[in-house]
Symmetry: C2
Subunit: 163 residues, 2 copies
DNA sequence: GGCTGATCTAGACTCACTCCAAGGTTGGGG
DNA sequence: CCCCAACCTTGGAGTGAGTCTAGATCAGCC
């Protein structure tokens, strides 16, 4: 995220009635810098950046921002929650069963049609969360012992910039 | 599950190379009796039924049965894992954000079309997991303080038989 | 610059597993 | 009917992810 984007972020927080703090800016930067980070990743990235931040502040901030709809929380089975700042465009996720890498995919059907279940049983549906499970090209090619690593940030992953 | 169904269950286990034990039968019965139970629910139901079973045995059994594809594990955000015996028919789930109640919904589109993402990015997709989030009719009607109860089995829930 | 509520901090705590170990029981093939 | 691998039991320790609490600090309005 560039210098001028920081001012934007500033406004974004204020618009939602949130105070602007160094911690919140760092968290937002960590998330927008790379999608699908875990709370722990974000904690370490933010700490590296601003020197001091507690993991609680990270959790608080992520919860606050998720509640305000600024961030989106994704919680795939067997994995800690991950966060992204791409909200409101109803895209979905594709996760590799072997290396747990997650990428975005656009909605298969179109605009927001995924929101329509065949029978909603009277529920007021506000979100359809779609997770495609499979294996990524690399894991299909070479099924090395990367299995079920609830990996932190790996060197390999570093190259996966925002999609 | 009725008396004669127990014989079926027997065969089911054997077919997958698993020994037939009282504990496994009790676990299977607890799951098929009502879908979407948690490991803890199953533990208590099974214990009530056969008198003695350790939580380890429940976890072992659930893991074994899930691995064999006899049960399906669902792990929604902010909730412990839940189990169901309705496998292989590609149905989805609808969860109330307020009371966490979960019900089945049939696939919105048809047979197994949910498996098709717009762009699979070279991934080999084998499952599409869809979770619809919303609020159930009761929580819409009366938003009482049931919020975010990671409830155990409540009296109210008892009436939700298999869908 | 002062005040006040929003936010941050450290650290204890909970929950849902998960993984031993070591001994006891039991299903089912031979 | 015997045997042994598969299974279960108690008990305890450990872990990852998140939650709670109480007190300190800070943003931003006046």
């Amino acid at each position: 995220m560039s210098r001028e984007a920081s001012a934007e972020t500033d406004v974004l927080l204020r618009r939602h009635g949130l105070q602007v703090t160094a911690q919140r800016l760092a968290v937002l930067r960590a998330v927008s810098d790379r999608a699908h980070r875990t709370a722990d990743d974000i904690y370490r990235v933010a700490r590296a950046e601003i020197g001091a931040i507690s993991s609680q502040a990270v959790y608080n901030t992520l919860t606050a921002l998720t509640d305000k709809g600024i961030l989106r929380r994704i919680q795939p089975a067997g994995s800690p929650a991950r966060y992204e700042d791409r909200v409101g465009d109803n895209h979905h996720h594709l996760i590799c069963r072997t290396c747990r890498r997650m990428i975005d995919v656009d909605c298969a059907v179109g605009d927001t049609p995924c929101l329509t279940a065949a029978d909603d049983s009277g529920y007021e549906i506000d979100e359809a969360e779609v997770i495609y499970w499979g294996r990524c090209p690399e894991c299909v090619a070479g099924p090395r012992s990367r299995a079920v690593t609830h990996h932190k940030e790996t060197a390999r992953e570093e190259k996966d910039r925002r999609v």
